[in-house]
Symmetry: C2
Subunit: 302 residues, 2 copies
């Protein structure tokens, strides 16, 4: 049996539009209603027939929903919750796709004190944004972390988990605080570092920006992909998961200083040891199907 | 006219074996002789018919060469030069593929005081190593930076440049010091940071290694690719280009501290400004054919 029959997607960017497409593809009898705060996005979503219906207000979008998924930047979750509060059916489940879970749960609980809230985070994405960037297979073989609050209904949680399984994801349950710590290292810190190095490289006096671009295949270009991710989304992530991000950043900086010292003092063995250790992590990621085994991410060489 | 007719490749790893394959494919009449200090690699090279001939000593490999390319870690260049010194024909050109150019030029000039040395650096590679990892199209549409010393023969330089063009590369000439500065930012610093973050992530008490692997699609996995590169090669690069690497690292650390402060003090606008700026660099890299336009590096989603 399908876990839901009327799904509303609030926010039609990369993730929201992928959810809409995936529901159409894998649960074709489910009715999908969409809404986005930006009129141009609603217009575009209608043009490409992204949903069965695009509503012009958040309230009218959820009026008969049994699942409402908020796919907006984590800093906008509270406002999105308020916008649907008056019209949300009493038995509807509210979920989201945000990259931070403790702050989102707090914001939604405040905005929707009587709603059944089951936050979730599909760990998937690309560097592209907007309603045209989404695709139905985005969640395949990726993990979706579901973070029900302690008092959440088990039935509601299981329905949300089943929803994500139907979209092709593997599902894991976690408490919100632990989620935020795990994602701080597997996602937030990498983005922060990528943004930083791309900024550093474009601010040099001795090397021109055109040289940086030309010779980027030496490694730099790998960082530019995630540094091209949506600025609003990422600003909100760092501010919403501040403590865990600052903690990971502190550890990273210490490790970087140790490496800097090893270079300065010609400690080749220390470098070699670390560089050998990091190879095995890559191997495990590939073995577990979380990345491509093909050399160079399978980039095209011809 | 072909720039060379008898090419010797010393060191048959990813780059050396790619050079051998590319010469076979694009200049099929050129005779390629190979040598590697590791007997197991020579054995494997013979099994897969990598070259027309695999010599058992570096000296016998170069005895009738008109071009000898050293494809060994930059810290091993001096030794490789010494190994061919006695047998190198007087009119042969010696080149290399190292990622640092000032230190390599110094080492080769000392080992081969009378030879015509034209260092070069093809900015291309993958995270894989060894004679099986190479492929003929590795240098296609990539840049090869040629760094002739001030006193170098123009004819010899032009021949080396023509050699790389035949393998599909675009060629640029640069002085060694400037090369080392450019590559410190486009290649060495990215590798150092990738190695560091992968190390940091595997040393946490609160997040398990298996969680890091599972949820790596949030961004972390992008870093693991270059952190899986050859440990010997990279140890040598950092020690050989120490000053430029430490300078870039210092700038990066300052920028990271500024971002850390912006997060701590909720300066969302500063974050947003940087994150918007870094998007345009990605766009230029794609426009100039130095990376794939496909989302997520064109990773497979199905």
């Amino acid at each position: 049996m399908l876990p839901f029959s009327r799904v509303t997607v609030i926010g039609l960017g990369l993730i929201g539009s992928s959810v809409a497409r995936a529901v159409h593809q894998y649960m074709p009898t489910v009715r999908v209603t969409g809404y986005d705060a930006d009129p141009a996005v609603r217009e575009r979503a209608r043009e490409i027939s992204l949903c069965d219906d695009i509503a012009d207000t958040a309230g009218s979008a959820v009026i008969d929903a049994d699942l409402a998924i908020l796919c907006v930047p984590v800093g906008a979750m509270g406002k999105a919750g308020e916008a649907i509060a008056a019209d949300l059916p009493a038995d509807a489940i509210v979920s989201d796709v945000g990259s931070c879970k403790a702050s989102v749960l707090a914001a939604l609980s405040e905005a929707l004190p009587n709603a059944c809230i089951i936050p979730a985070h599909p760990v998937a994405g690309t560097e592209h944004s907007g309603p045209d960037a989404g695709f139905a297979t985005l969640f395949h073989q990726r993990w979706c972390i579901v973070t029900p609050p302690a008092e959440a209904s088990e039935t509601a949680t299981v329905r949300v988990e089943e929803f994500w399984r139907r979209l092709g994801a593997n599902v894991e349950r976690m408490d919100p605080q632990h989620h935020d710590l795990v994602l701080a290292v597997t996602s937030h810190l990498p983005h922060l570092i990528a943004y930083t190095i791309v900024g550093t490289a474009s601010d040099l006096e001795t090397v021109t920006q055109s040289e940086v671009i030309k010779y980027s295949a030496g490694g730099f270009r790998d960082f530019t992909r995630i540094a091209a991710s949506d600025p609003t989304m990422w600003r909100d992530v760092f501010l919403s998961n501040k403590d865990a991000v600052l903690d990971m950043l502190q550890r990273f900086s210490e490790d970087l200083s140790a490496l800097q010292r090893a270079i300065r003092w010609d400690k080749g063995d220390e470098l070699f040891d670390l560089f050998s250790r990091t190879r095995t992590i890559r191997r495990s990621i590939i073995e577990q199907g979380q990345d491509d085994a093909a050399a160079d991410f399978g980039r095209h060489h011809d």
